[in-house]
Symmetry: C2
Subunit: 352 residues, 2 copies
């Protein structure tokens, strides 16, 4: 840190997108570069915050932002610039009336040590710092709200229903399963390793779980785990799993489409063949995006914070240390290397 | 007709399923056979009606009942037996308190001159015979209720929205388009011939229409007809059209899945690749079956009968004469030979 007159300049390591990505992303697509940052918001930059990033969130949707596609989505990544995602941060400087220096916040930020957030409209002040701060990248942040909105607002769940969750040990899936158990549903999850299956059954309290990599015929597998069929499918993976699930839906079933991680690295998504069962079984299949539900965030906190503190909900994180480990952690999502919510820790709140 | 003691025996021509069907059905799959019927309900047959069939309805869903599949659906056809479908009939004998000899009814019946309906729970008495009786196989029957439930109950339509309908000149599509126009939507339909496109634009008042057989790139076609995107897609065909529509849905769009006629004759349905847009555009895609909505039938009649009589809704039928012409009419649905609702006329109400 060098002080010059009124200016403090800090080093600012960044993870940038080297070039648009095709197929599976590699660590080499996300090089670390050095830069510097002035630790003061520029004078013409109103309603902004400058933050020190503490935790960064690795989420599957980030893969889609690495594509070279015609899109009017301003969130798409640009080659040569830092990638962005959800994170937990300490406010260093603020020109926004909702935030002041020292505040802890979560929301969209950059993959770098310091970020200037020009429009913190989707940043939330952290309401309770007695739980692990990293939880605000997971159970208390975007994935938590995703599970909450997806399950309660989209699935129309009822006690006793049969619920299936794919990618069930991930940031969202592990919560959906626990919400469904709390409601009195029968819950089965799929995941891609023995460790994850153990987690689902023993830590998260799923009724059952299976390793999809060990199953040859997913339709037969689902018939085995759901002889009565599936009322609710919480969809995180797409492709062959969705096709098999469609054949096993019950009358008036619901499919909440949260993501399709198995498809993000393919040039062309796999074809799904069994959509006619939407008609024969009168199924509602509905996609959703969490940002449409952030107005429910405080309602969600009122529900979830007591459940965490009473030990009625548990949350498993996979924390990589240091921004340098970020690229490996992020690309690891797509081979299922993480066990639980993948987080990158940059600094401890007490140290900044 | 031969009278023996107390019995009247009538000849009863029938259209039977020769064998389970693979691929496109042929007229030869549906031979005409002769039999006889006693024109009195057997003594042990309670709550039944015996009817003379006047009009039979040709509907795409009937193709699915010709398959050899494991199914618990009691409606599946059996080789050697008459096929069944919706029809308009005159009651010849009744052991059911809701129906008496001479009543005109519509509902499920057999493809034959006379049918014993052992469970007339889905038969409705015809409330108004001042409109063409054949309408009770279409606008005033199952297809009408399908259009009504699909559009108003599933699509959540709003004035000014952009509505696309495939198979738009068919029994259901022509009504959905007119309902949408009455509500103040912008409506485009697709169909498979020049004549049908003329009908859509000039007779049913669609804002625009195109012949899908003349389009090489359905995605580009839809972008041309819907530069702002599609709010509501009323799905009758499936496959490539659905895939192209998915790429053109607007935020919070809705897809009512009524049928997928393009897929019924394929060994394996085509793959649909663009389902991720359900997430990115937050689309609700919902299958439905009309039988779940028959409790709304009288509400529908209150709406539709005045519209018909005031000339605000029009309905085009394609009527084949005689049971002998039934097989050709039915298989013609799958090559799009019919223009408008396909009906088979067996007898006039006044003659029986």
């Amino acid at each position: 840190m060098a002080e010059m007159e009124d200016e403090v300049i800090a080093n600012n390591k960044q993870v940038i997108l080297k070039d648009y990505v095709k197929g599976f992303p590699q660590e080499s697509d996300l090089p670390l570069v050095s830069s510097t940052v002035k630790l003061k918001i520029p004078g013409d930059c109103h309603d902004a915050v400058l933050v020190r990033n503490l935790y960064l969130s690795c989420d599957p949707y980030m893969r889609n932002l690495m594509n070279m596609i015609e899109s009017d989505d301003p969130n798409m990544y640009s080659p040569g610039s830092p990638i962005r995602g959800y994170g937990v941060s300490r406010v260093v400087d603020s020109s926004h009336s909702n935030f002041k220096k020292g505040d802890l916040i979560w929301g969209l930020t950059g993959w770098e040590e310091y970020s200037l957030i020009r429009n913190p409209s989707s940043s939330f002040k952290i309401p309770d710092a007695t739980v692990p701060l990293s939880y605000y990248t997971g159970i208390l942040g975007m994935p938590g709200m995703t599970a909450y909105a997806g399950f309660y607002e989209i699935c129309s769940p009822k006690k006793g229903e049969y619920v299936f969750i794919s990618a069930a040990s991930g940031a969202v899936g592990q919560l959906v399963g626990q919400f469904a158990k709390l409601l009195g549903c029968y819950v089965v999850g799929s995941a891609g390793s023995k460790d994850k299956i153990e987690l689902l059954k023993n830590k998260f309290g799923f009724d059952d779980a299976f390793n999809y990599k060990e199953e040859k015929d997913l339709n037969a597998t689902l018939k085995r785990y759901f002889p009565e069929g599936i009322d609710i499918y919480f969809e995180n993976v797409g492709g062959k799993m969705l096709d098999a699930v469609l054949l096993n839906m019950r009358l008036h079933g619901r499919i909440a489409v949260c993501g399709m991680i198995s498809q993000y690295n393919l040039d062309q998504p796999e074809g799904v063949h069994n959509l006619f069962t939407l008609v024969s079984k009168r199924v509602r299949m509905q996609g959703f995006v969490v940002v449409d539900y952030y107005h429910l965030y405080h309602k969600y906190l009122d529900m979830i914070l007591p459940l965490i503190k009473e030990g009625k909900i548990t949350y498993v994180e996979d924390i990589a240390q240091g921004l340098e480990s970020g690229p490996r952690a992020l690309v690891g999502l797509f081979s299922g290397r993480n066990v639980g919510k993948q987080v990158v820790a940059l600094a401890r709140a007490d140290d900044v």
